[in-house]
């Protein structure tokens, strides 16, 4: 399609380790197909260790062994020119990084060098891509920091002198200061207070709309997804199990896992016990056969144990991977309310 900026087809990316005698294969991304259109915010939600970070590491072309792309294509289209980052060389990727494609990593300390001031990190990453004179550059940086409620003083600080939320905002500033066309953000607001979070999300939305850029936004926080994303994919054990316009996910989800996720959200003023999923997240080293959700699925049938449900397209841009997605099942059947796991 013409206005796709990113197309992912049949992507499989595994951690393959064979060191010091032990072999281990973690199938963190297993057969993912999706696309992101120009000018939209695409959300990815899913439980911890379901492979969200792994997936967007591939999108950001930031994979390092033992993580490896086993199969599939990841094609971007910047200025009409396609580039498959799954197979492109390091220098081709370097050309698009920061200017076209930027990546806000999970765990903000890792990009900030602990023994250098924040200022030098900005100089290293952003000065050349911005192509401004020195004075104009710092002016632009300071203006951008102000948008994130940061004082220019943070430039003089070492990372450990900033609070967690300030560091987080510094990395967001770093990734957005060059105004890239495609922003990949991994849990960018988890360390922020709700006031600043709201402003940062609004800022991301504003920047996105002003530039017409696309954003892939990963977080486990469903309330964030509810407020910023246009479309939302739910990931379970390395696979997309449901994908739909965000509104549909919150109002008319079909997959039992998604329905559970939406129902378990805590709200102020509500102290009723929340449903919790029985069992543990599956191990991606030995994922369950058939539908990966079947050991925890309250409505699993025999077929689920043997066959893998495909992600089927339904009306309204809605894709679901569940054999029982078409049945009208009442909520009580899907959500077993009880005290959460001990």
């Amino acid at each position: 399609m013409a206005d796709d900026i990113l197309t992912v087809e049949g992507l499989k990316a595994y951690y393959q380790m064979n060191y010091f005698g032990v072999e281990r294969e973690v199938r963190a991304v297993d057969d993912v197909t999706m696309r992101v259109m120009a000018n939209e915010i695409y959300g990815i939600a899913g439980e911890s260790s379901s492979g969200k970070t792994s997936f967007i590491k591939v999108l950001a072309a930031a994979i390092r062994p033992p993580f490896r792309i086993v199969d599939g294509r990841v094609t971007y289209r910047f200025n009409g020119k396609p580039i498959d980052v799954a197979h492109a060389g390091e220098d081709e990727i370097a050309k698009i990084r920061w200017k076209h494609l930027s990546y806000i990593m999970q765990g903000s300390m890792s990009v900030l060098n602990p023994v250098r001031r924040v200022r030098s990190t900005f100089e290293d990453f952003a000065f050349r891509p911005m192509g401004l004179k020195r004075d104009a550059f710092w002016e632009a940086v300071e203006a951008h920091l102000a948008r994130l409620h940061l004082e220019p003083g943070v430039l003089r600080a070492y990372p450990h002198e900033l609070s967690g939320g300030m560091r987080q905002r510094v990395t967001i500033a770093l990734a957005t200061v060059c105004r890239p066309e495609f922003i990949i953000a991994d849990e960018p607001t988890t360390a922020l207070d709700v006031v600043v979070q709201k402003d940062v999300l609004a800022m991301i939305r504003e920047v996105q709309q002003a530039l017409g850029s696309s954003v892939v936004f990963v977080t486990h926080d469903m309330s964030v997804h509810a407020n910023v994303t246009d479309r939302l994919a739910i990931v379970y054990a390395g696979r997309i199990v449901e994908e739909a316009p965000t509104r549909t996910i919150f109002t008319a989800a079909r997959h039992p896992y998604t329905r559970h996720l939406v129902a378990s959200l805590p709200r102020i003023g509500d102290t009723s016990p929340k449903p919790s999923l029985e069992g543990r997240p599956p191990s991606l080293a030995e994922p369950p056969a058939g539908c990966r959700f079947h050991p925890r699925c309250p409505i699993a049938v025999e077929r689920c144990r043997r066959e893998v449900p495909v992600l089927e397209e339904r009306p309204g841009g809605h894709r679901v991977a569940c054999f029982r997605a078409d049945e009208a099942l009442p909520a009580e059947k899907i959500l077993n309310v009880e005290e959460p796991l001990s």
Binding site: Q16, M17, F20, R64, P65, P66, P114
Partner: protein, 285 residues
């Protein structure tokens, strides 16, 4: 341990070359234990013979078989370099990590001494020791003295890394897991400075062996102990190049270059083993 070694050999060509080079030199120096001749005796054989089937490395003008002579020289020189490196590494790691981690007045005191040692010129001091100790100046004492001067720059480097590590959250976490400062320094922080330790150990060995050679060539060491330095001292003393006994100089120089190269490659590849991320990268590639 063995599997680590095997994996390094398999995945790391630098390591393999380093092992071969250093292995050859070490094996060569170990042959000294099987030597049929006494390295301090002179005129035990025909002087000035070029390399041949009988005398592989030729003989020198003092009537010594160079092959056996050099086995002793390398044994002493390697041992000397290693001693200086190990001793000075121990000092610089202890000082650097302690100053960096504990900070405060401990840091200020240690860095004060550090600066004093940086400021003292080493060459005149060594010559002074030579004149004071004369024939009592054996290799071990010389190594000790040089170790006392070989640490301050590296200690400062290590301290700067430790200073950064101190503020990392995992250090605080380790404190609350009940780890003592010594354990935090030697188990949590040491791996981060190991690459520095290895690469500076290399520089340090080159420095100490080079200094020993210089001192020996000038005659400021005990010239009766066979080392690479004293071998060159005697060669120079007998004007080896002028009278055409080139092998007396060329062979030890080639061997010492091999040593340096081998150790350098080892140090580089060891760094990779120490950092699991780069280790994994190499094995995956």
């Amino acid at each position: 341990m063995f599997s680590v070694f095997r994996d390094l050999i398999r995945y790391n060509i630098e390591f393999t070359i380093g092992v071969v080079l250093v292995g050859v030199i070490v094996a060569f120096s170990l042959l000294s234990f099987a030597s049929p001749v006494d390295p301090t005796a002179i005129y035990t054989t025909i002087p000035d013979m070029p390399p041949s089937a009988e005398f592989w490395f030729g003989t020198n003008s003092r009537g010594q078989d160079l092959f056996w002579q050099l086995t002793f020289a390398f044994r002493n020189t390697l041992f000397f370099g290693l001693t200086v490196a190990v001793l000075s590494r121990i000092i610089s790691i202890t000082v650097g990590l302690t100053a960096g981690y504990l900070g405060g007045w401990t840091d200020r005191t240690l860095m004060f001494f550090n600066d004093i040692f940086v400021a003292i010129p080493i060459f005149p001091i060594l010559i002074l020791f030579y004149f004071v100790l004369r024939n009592n100046l054996d290799m071990m004492k010389l190594a000790l003295i040089m170790a006392c001067f070989g640490w301050p720059f590296d200690a400062r480097l290590i301290r700067s890394v430790a200073l950064g590590l101190k503020h990392r959250e995992f250090t605080r976490h380790a404190v609350f897991a009940g780890m003592s400062p010594a354990r935090i320094m030697y188990e949590e922080h040491l791996p981060y400075v190991m690459p520095i330790v290895f690469s500076t150990a290399m520089a340090n060995m080159i420095w100490s062996i080079g200094l020993e050679v210089t001192l020996a060539v000038l005659g400021f060491t005990n010239i009766n102990v066979p080392t690479v330095g004293t071998a060159l001292y005697w060669a120079n003393n007998h004007s080896a190049m002028v009278v055409g006994v080139w092998w007396w100089i060329v062979i030890p120089v080639v061997l010492i270059v091999m040593t340096f190269l081998g150790l350098f490659l080892l140090a580089v590849s060891m760094n990779e083993y120490i950092d699991p991320r780069s280790r994994l990268r190499r094995m995956g590639a």
